[in-house]
Symmetry: C2
Subunit: 336 residues, 2 copies
C-alpha cells in the first residue's frame, strides 16, 4: 500500500510529481519554518517571533502573462515564483514559503510540466522559498497562481506611502532591459536565451537582498518593485504618498548600447521609461541619508533618478532643463 496519501487518484499522482520535483530538500523545508507540506488539507507553517507575515499573490496565465510557443517552460517556472517574490522584496522582507495553484491541459503534463517544475525548483532553492502546498486542476490553457508568505521585522516593512518632499528617488539595475528582451524574443524566438536582455525577461531576479538591506537600515521612506514600468509604478507610489516627483531624464539607467545594438536610442529610452517586467526596486531616501546609498551593492547598480516634490504630478526633466509631464503608460490589463 502506498505510504503517500496523494497516490489514491490521478490528481494525487500529479501532486506527488510536483512534490518530488519542487520540494525535495528537507533542509530548505526546516529553514522556511514549514511544519507540514503537500498532501494534507492545508500546510502548517511556524512564523518566527517578533516578525510580521508578508502575504502576496500573483497570476501568471498563458496568453496573458506568457505564451506557450514563445516562453521556455523552465522560464515560466522560474518567473512565476520570482515575480511573486519581488513583492516580498519590495516590502523589505524575506520569502519563506509559497502555494502553487496550477491548471494544466493534458498535453502539458509531460515534458512541459517537467521543465516547468525544474525552473520552479531552481527559483525555490536560489530564492529560499519552499513549496508549502497548492491546488491542481485540468484546463485547456495553463493557469498559474502563486501565493507567498514572507517575513519582516515588525514595524520595519517599507510601504509605498511614506515618500516625503525632497526625498531622493533611486532605482536598482537598468530599466527597460526586460522589455527589450521581450522584443528580441518575439523577433528571434528563444534560441539565444543566454543574451542578457533575454535573461532579464525570462529569468528576472527579485531584489531581495537589497530590499532587506534598505528596510533593516531604515534608509527608505517608500519602496515598490517595478513590474508595470517606471511611469505607471512611480505614479502609484506618488499617489500613495500624496506627493509628486521630478525625474531627471539624463540620469535614467537604461539598457547599455552594447547590449542593445539592435535598438535605436529612442526605443531604449522608451523601454526605460515605460517597459514592464524589470522587477527592479524603486525607493525613496531622505535627502540627509542620500550619501549612505552606494553606487553599487550586491552586484547591482543603484542610481538616483529624481526627487520627490510636494506638488502632485510627475515631471520628466531633460538635461536642457525642459520639463514635460510624465504620464503613466505602463502595463494595465484593464486599459481599453
Amino acid at each position: 500500500m502506498p505510504r503517500n496519501p496523494t497516490q489514491i487518484s490521478a490528481e494525487g499522482k500529479l501532486l506527488r510529481r510536483i512534490e518530488r520535483a519542487a520540494w525535495s530538500e528537507s533542509r530548505t523545508h526546516d529553514k522556511s519554518g514549514l511544519r507540514l507540506g503537500i498532501g494534507d488539507d492545508a500546510a502548517l507553517w511556524k512564523p518566527r517571533p517578533g516578525l510580521e507575515t508578508i502575504l502576496t499573490t500573483d497570476w501568471f496565465l498563458e496568453g496573458t502573462h506568457f505564451l506557450r510557443k514563445l516562453h521556455p517552460p523552465d522560464s515560466v517556472g522560474w518567473k512565476c515564483l520570482a515575480r511573486a517574490l519581488s513583492d516580498v522584496a519590495a516590502m523589505g522582507g524575506e520569502p519563506r514559503c509559497f502555494l502553487l495553484s496550477l491548471a494544466l491541459p493534458e498535453n502539458a503534463e509531460g515534458e512541459w510540466l517537467n521543465q516547468f517544475l525544474a525552473g520552479l525548483r531552481r527559483a525555490s532553492r536560489k530564492l529560499s522559498c519552499s513549496l508549502a502546498g497548492g491546488d491542481t486542476t485540468r484546463r485547456n490553457k495553463i493557469l498559474i497562481n502563486i501565493s507567498v508568505a514572507g517575513e519582516v521585522k515588525a514595524g520595519r516593512a517599507v510601504t509605498r506611502s511614506g515618500a516625503k518632499r525632497d526625498d531622493r528617488i533611486f532605482v536598482s539595475g537598468r530599466l527597460g532591459e526586460a522589455e527589450l528582451g521581450l522584443k528580441l524574443l518575439r523577433k528571434n524566438g528563444s534560441s539565444r536565451t543566454s543574451h542578457t536582455l533575454l535573461q532579464k525577461h525570462l529569468y528576472p531576479e527579485p531584489r531581495i537582498e537589497l530590499g532587506k538591506w534598505l528596510a533593516s537600515n531604515d534608509l527608505a521612506t517608500a519602496m515598490m518593485d517595478l513590474s508595470d514600468g517606471l511611469s505607471l509604478d512611480l505614479a502609484r507610489l506618488c499617489v500613495a504618498s500624496c506627493v509628486g516627483a521630478n525625474i531627471y531624464s539624463g540620469s535614467l539607467p537604461v539598457a547599455s548600447k552594447t547590449l542593445s545594438s539592435k535598438f535605436d536610442a529612442a526605443t531604449i529610452k522608451q523601454a526605460g521609461l515605460h517597459g514592464g517586467d524589470d522587477y527592479e526596486l524603486l525607493f525613496c531616501v531622505p535627502d540627509r541619508l542620500r550619501a549612505r546609498i552606494p553606487r553599487n551593492l550586491f552586484g547591482l547598480r543603484l542610481t538616483e533618478i529624481g526627487q520627490i516634490t510636494r506638488r502632485a504630478g510627475i515631471k520628466l526633466v531633460e538635461p536642457s532643463g525642459k520639463a514635460t509631464l510624465f504620464g503613466p503608460n505602463g502595463w494595465d490589463p484593464f486599459r481599453k
Copy 2:
C-alpha cells in the same frame, strides 16, 4: 488628487471597488491581525504568539467549478471563500485573512462583479476572514483563486495521517445533499435557491467551530473535509494513515427523504457515498473517547459511520452483514 494609490489606472479602479465592497469594516481588519491590506505591493499580517499558520489555496474556475449560466454570482462569491476555509476547519484552525486573485471578462465587471462581491463580503464577515489583498487581470472566462491564512495552537492541528486501528469514524451533517442540490439546479435552474439542498450546493458552510472544538479538546486522531465525496476522501485519509476502514452502510447520514422527494433511494444513497461539495468534516476518534462525541453539536448532527481497521482497504458493510469493497469514486479532475 486621489488619496488612494489604486486610482491611478483602470486596474486600480477595479481594486478600489473590490476593497470597498469586500473589506470595509476596520473592526474585522483589526481582529484578523491585518496591518496593511489592499493597495501596496503585499499585505502585512501579524500572527499571534504560540500559534502556527495554516496556509491553503483553492481554484474556483468558470466552466470547471461553476457555470456562469447556472450559478448565481453571489453564490460564486460565497462559495469560493467558504470552500477554501473548509480546509482551515479540517485542520482544526480558525481563518484570519485571505488573498483574492480574480480574472474577469469585460462583461462581468458590472452587475456580475457587484453580486459576486456581495456574496464574498457576506462570507468574509460571517466566517471572520478579512480580505488582505489580491491580484486582478482581464480574461475571457472568470478565474478565481483564493489563498487563506488561518491559525491553530502550535502542535494542535489535526492532519489526515493520525488514524489508528479501532478508531471510530464520524461525519458531520448529511452527505450527498450538495450533489442532489446540483442535480436540482441543473434541472430547475436557480429560481428556488431557498431549497435546503440547493443552499447546501450554493452556500456551503465550512465547519469551523466543530473543527476547532475537536482540535482544542484533542478528540480527533485524523480529520479532513469532504470536498470530493466520502469514497475518495476516506480513501485519502486511510492511505495517509496507513490503515483501512469498515463503513456501515446503514449508518450513513444521507439526505432526508422529505427534502429529496424527487429522488429515489438509490440516487440518495449514491450521492451520500460519492457526492462532492458537502464540506462536512470526516474525523476519527479513539474508541475510548467515543462517548465524548455528542449526537448534535453547534446545530450539526454528528454520526458514527464506521471503524478504522489495521488492514488496508475500505469495506462497505450492509445491515445484513454483507461486505463489499468500497472504492474511490468521487470528483477527480484528472480522471480519464
